[in-house]
C-alpha cells in the first residue's frame, strides 16, 4: 500500500532476484516484489531490464508477464488507489456511475476501460483502476480504497470518502 511503500534502492532489486531466482514461478514472484517495493508501485522499464538481465531471460518474456497480469502497473501509481469492480453484479448495481464519479472528482478526463487497466490523476494524487470481479458479488457494488474493500457503495458515500482522502484524513 502506498503508505507502507519503502524507497527502492538498486540493492533491493538485486536482493529480491537472488532470493527468488531458484524458486518455482520465480519471475512472477520477483516482479511482484519488485513492484511492491517500488516507491510508485510500478515496474519501470529499468526494473524490467534489470530483472531480464540478472535472470538471463529475454526482455520480451518479462514484458509478456508484466502486461498479462492486470496486477502489474507499468506506469507510476498515485499516492492513493481506488479500484472499482466492473463485474456483472457490480455493473448492474451501478458501478459505472461510481467509476465516472471517482474519475471526475480526481479531474481525470478520460479512461478507456477496454484499453487500459488504470489511470492516474495528473497531480499523482490517486490512481483509479477497474477489476473484473472481487468475488464479493453479494455485497455489490464494491470499491476498494487504499486496500480496504468497501461494500454496497453509493455515490454519496464515495464522494464523502474521496473528500476525506483529499483532506488527508
Amino acid at each position: 500500500m502506498p503508505s507502507t511503500a519503502v524507497a527502492q534502492k538498486d540493492g533491493d532489486l538485486k536482493h529480491i532476484i537472488l532470493e527468488n531466482r531458484d524458486k518455482q514461478g520465480y519471475l512472477l514472484k520477483i516482479l511482484e516484489k519488485a513492484q511492491e517495493t517500488s516507491p510508485k508501485l510500478y515496474l519501470s522499464e529499468e526494473t524490467m531490464r534489470e530483472v531480464a538481465h540478472r535472470l538471463d531471460i529475454p526482455l520480451t518474456q518479462v514484458y509478456s508477464v508484466a502486461t498479462f497480469y492486470s496486477f502489474f502497473n507499468l506506469k507510476p501509481q498515485g499516492l492513493h488507489s481506488i479500484v472499482v469492480c466492473r463485474g456483472t453484479a457490480c455493473h448492474t448495481r451501478g458501478s459505472l456511475a461510481l467509476l465516472n464519479e471517482a474519475l471526475s472528482m480526481l479531474g481525470i478526463k478520460s479512461f478507456k476501460e477496454e484499453e487500459e487497466n488504470s489511470v492516474t490523476s495528473l497531480d499523482g494524487f490517486a490512481s483509479v483502476r477497474t477489476v473484473a470481479c472481487f468475488g464479493q458479488c453479494a455485497l455489490a457494488p464494491v470499491v476498494m480504497i487504499d486496500g480496504e474493500v468497501k461494500s454496497r457503495m453509493t455515490i454519496g458515500r464515495l464522494v464523502t470518502l474521496l473528500h476525506k482522502m483529499k483532506k488527508g484524513g
Binding site: 522499464e45 524490467m48 529475454p58 526482455l59 520480451t60 518474456q61 518479462v62 514484458y63 509478456s64 502486461t67 498479462f68 497480469y69 492486470s70 477496454e114 484499453e115
Partner: protein
C-alpha cells in the same frame, strides 16, 4: 519415437495411422484435410486459431486436431455441421477486427486467412469490429509490422524465439488486448531484431512483410538519367521460378537474367561475381590469421542477420568475424568504383539494385558505413577541386518476393523466356559462388580455394560433402597445407549460438566457422517465397549443387573476371584498396 500403428475411424472409414502423428496429420492420411491458420510443422503448434477443430466421439467439446494425438479406435468427424460452424465462427471472429483491404494488400495473392475464408465459404462477418490498432511499425529497413492484420497465431513469436533465439517479439497483454510486440511496445528498431525476416515467411497474413521497395526501383528504371544495374544473389535462381508458379527448386538462372533485362536494367550482373571475390579476400584473410596468429576461429560474415545477431548478443566476439563485407556490399563498392571508372559513368548516376533472398540485406544496404565508393570518389574529386554528393554502395535490395511481383506487374512470363547470359565485367562466376546460397556453401567454396593456394596443386575431389545437408551443425577436419583445419558450419541462429557459447567459454576446437542466419542457408531466407518447408528448401539446395556441377569453373580463384579486377584495379587480395572497398568493421548493438 516408436512407430505405433493404430486403427482410427475418420468420417466413418477405418484407417490405420501412426499414433505419433497429430490428429490433423492422421486424418490427412485418410484423405480428410484439416484446415489450420496457426500450426506450422517444425515452427509452432500452439492451437491458438481454433480452426483445426474436429468432433471426437465421447469428447464433450470439439478437439483441436493439430495438438491432439490419435488413440486406438478413436472415432472422428472432420466435416460435420458442428465442426464447420465452429471453424466458421473462429475465422469470422478473426475477420471481425481485420481491415479487409484484401484488394490492395501485399499478401493478396497468398494470404492464408483469405484462402481460409474462401475455403470455409464465409460470406459475411457477424461480429462488430472492436479493436483499435497502432499504425504499422516501419522503424526498420527490412521489415514492416502491421498489427491490424495480425491473427495472433504465434508463428512469428515461435520462429523468433526458437529457431533464431532472438526474442525480438513476444505476446503482450491479455484477452482482447493481446498483441505481438517488442519490449515496451516500441518498434522493432529498438528491439534485438536481426531483420532475418523468418517471421515474414511464416506469417499467414500481411502482418509482417518485407519493406516493399518495388516502387522506388520502378521509378529509378523509368528515369533516363540513371544507369540502373542489378545483381542477383545465388539463392534467387533456385527460388524465383517457384515464386512465379513453377515447380519447387526450379533453376531459372538464364531466364531470370532475360527477365531482368526486359525490365530495363542497363546491365544484369551477378552477386556470384563478388561471392568469388569474397572467397579471394576471405581465404587470404584466413590464411593470414593462421600464419600470423590472428583471432581464431574466424567466422564468415556474408549473412547480415547473423552480423546483427553477433553485434547484439555477443559483442565481445566481434573480433572473430571476418572483416570481409558480404558479396552484396562488395558488389556495390566495386560497381560504383571499378565499373564506373571503366565505363566512364558518373558514379552518382549509377543505381545498384540487389535481388536478395533476404530482408536483412535491405538493412545492410542502409548501414551508414556501407558507402565506400562515395569515399573513394570524394578523395579523388576533392583532390581535383570537384564535389560529390553522398550515396550508398547499394541503393535498394529487393527480395525474391518483390522481384516476382515486379515480373508479374511487367507481364514478363519468365517460364517462356530463352536463357540469356549475365553481362560483363561483373557477371562471371564459378560453381563455388553458386553454392554460397546454401548452408555449407561458403565453407566449401573457401576450402576449394584455400586448399589450392596452400597446397599449390589441384584438389583431388572438388565436392566436399561433410558440410552439405541440413544438419544444424556440421563439423569436419580437413588436412590443408600440413595443418588439420577444423571447421564447423551452422545455420539458424540457435545453432550459431551453440558455437558462439563454445568460443566464449574457450572450448571451441575450430579454426573456421560458417554461419548462415536462416534455416538451410539463403535458400531458406526471410525474403524467399512464403511458407517454406523442408522439401522446398532441399529442392532449392539441390538446384544450386546441380548448377555448381554444370559450371565450367568451380573454384573462385579460377574466375577470370575476378582475376582481371585484381590486375586492373585492386592489386591483390587484402591490398590497401581491397581493404578500403571490400572490408568493414563491426560494432556492438545496444537494445
Amino acid at each position: 519415437m516408436e512407430n505405433e500403428r493404430m486403427t482410427i475411424y475418420v468420417d466413418g472409414r477405418s484407417v490405420e495411422v501412426d499414433g505419433n502423428l497429430n490428429l490433423a496429420k492422421a486424418c490427412e492420411t485418410a484423405g480428410a484435410s484439416i484446415p489450420t491458420l496457426c500450426h506450422l510443422e517444425g515452427v509452432s503448434s500452439n492451437a491458438s486459431c481454433g480452426v483445426c477443430v474436429v468432433e471426437v466421439e465421447g469428447a464433450k467439446s470439439l478437439v483441436r486436431a493439430c495438438v491432439q494425438k490419435p488413440s486406438p479406435g478413436m472415432k472422428i468427424k472432420t466435416s460435420s455441421l458442428r465442426v464447420i460452424n465452429a471453424r466458421r465462427t473462429a475465422v469470422e471472429l478473426l475477420l471481425a477486427n481485420h481491415p479487409m483491404d484484401c484488394l490492395s494488400c501485399l499478401r493478396s495473392g497468398n494470404c492464408e486467412l483469405k484462402a481460409m475464408a474462401e475455403r470455409l465459404g464465409i460470406r459475411a462477418s457477424h461480429y462488430p469490429k472492436l479493436k483499435k490498432f497502432a499504425p504499422p511499425d516501419t522503424s526498420t529497413d527490412g521489415l514492416t509490422r502491421d498489427d491490424s492484420k495480425c491473427i495472433l497465431c504465434g508463428r512469428c513469436v515461435a520462429v523468433c524465439a526458437e529457431t533464431q533465439t532472438v526474442h525480438a517479439i513476444g505476446f503482450s497483454g491479455r484477452g482482447a488486448r493481446t498483441r505481438v510486440t517488442a519490449f515496451m511496445d516500441r518498434g522493432l528498431a529498438k528491439s534485438p531484431c536481426v531483420q532475418c525476416g523468418q517471421c515474414s515467411v511464416v506469417c499467414p497474413t500481411a502482418a509482417i512483410t518485407e519493406r516493399d521497395q518495388t516502387q522506388e526501383v520502378l521509378l529509378a528504371l523509368a528515369d533516363p538519367s540513371l544507369h540502373v544495374i542489378v545483381q542477383t544473389a545465388p539463392a534467387i535462381r533456385s527460388s524465383l521460378g517457384e515464386a512465379l508458379g513453377m515447380a519447387q527448386g526450379s533453376l531459372v538462372t538464364g531466364r531470370m537474367v532475360a527477365g531482368l533485362r526486359r525490365l530495363g536494367f542497363a546491365k544484369v550482373f551477378d552477386t556470384q561475381f563478388t561471392a568469388d571475390l569474397t572467397i579471394m579476400e576471405e581465404g587470404t584473410e584466413f590464411i593470414q590469421r593462421v600464419k600470423e596468429g590472428g583471432t581464431l576461429p574466424m567466422i564468415t560474415s556474408c549473412s547480415p542477420g547473423w552480423i546483427n545477431f553477433i553485434e547484439a548478443f555477443y559483442p565481445s566476439l566481434l573480433g572473430h568475424l571476418s572483416t570481409c563485407k558480404s558479396p552484396q556490399q562488395m558488389f556495390g563498392a566495386v560497381a560504383k568504383t571499378f565499373y564506373a571508372q571503366k565505363t566512364g559513368l558518373d558514379p552518382e548516376n549509377i543505381r545498384v539494385v540487389s535481388i536478395m533472398p533476404c530482408t536483412a540485406k535491405k538493412a545492410e544496404a542502409k548501414r551508414p558505413e556501407m558507402d565506400s565508393a562515395y569515399h573513394f570518389w570524394k578523395e579523388k574529386k576533392t583532390a581535383a577541386g570537384g564535389a560529390v554528393h553522398h550515396f550508398q554502395d547499394v541503393d535498394w535490395a529487393l527480395t525474391t518476393r518483390e522481384l516476382a511481383r515486379i515480373m508479374r506487374l511487367a507481364g514478363i512470363d519468365t517460364a517462356k523466356l530463352e536463357d540469356e547470359n549475365f553481362d560483363s565485367p561483373l557477371g562471371e562466376s564459378t560453381g563455388a559462388a553458386t553454392i554460397f546460397g546454401t548452408t555449407g556453401g561458403v565453407m566449401e567454396a573457401a576450402l576449394r580455394t584455400v586448399y589450392e593456394i596452400l597446397e599449390g596443386k589441384p584438389l583431388p575431389e572438388t565436392n566436399f560433402t561433410p558440410v552439405r545437408g541440413l544438419a544444424g551443425i556440421k563439423t569436419a577436419e580437413v588436412p590443408v597445407g600440413g595443418m588439420k583445419v577444423r571447421i564447423a558450419v551452422a545455420h539458424s541462429l540457435k545453432n550459431a549460438r551453440v558455437l558462439l557459447d563454445e568460443i566464449a567459454a574457450g572450448t571451441s576446437p575450430y579454426h573456421f566457422i560458417e554461419v548462415m542466419t536462416c534455416p538451410g542457408g539463403c535458400v531458406g531466407g526471410g525474403g524467399q517465397p512464403v511458407l517454406p518447408d523442408l522439401g522446398k528448401i532441399l529442392a532449392r539446395n539441390r538446384s544450386l549443387y546441380a548448377e555448381d556441377m554444370n559450371l565450367p569453373e568451380r573454384k573462385s580463384h579460377a574466375n577470370v573476371e575476378v582475376k582481371s579486377l585484381y590486375t586492373a584495379f585492386l592489386g591483390a587480395p587484402a591490398s590497401h584498396l581491397s581493404h578500403e572497398l571490400l572490408h568493414t568493421h563491426y560494432k556492438a548493438k545496444r537494445f
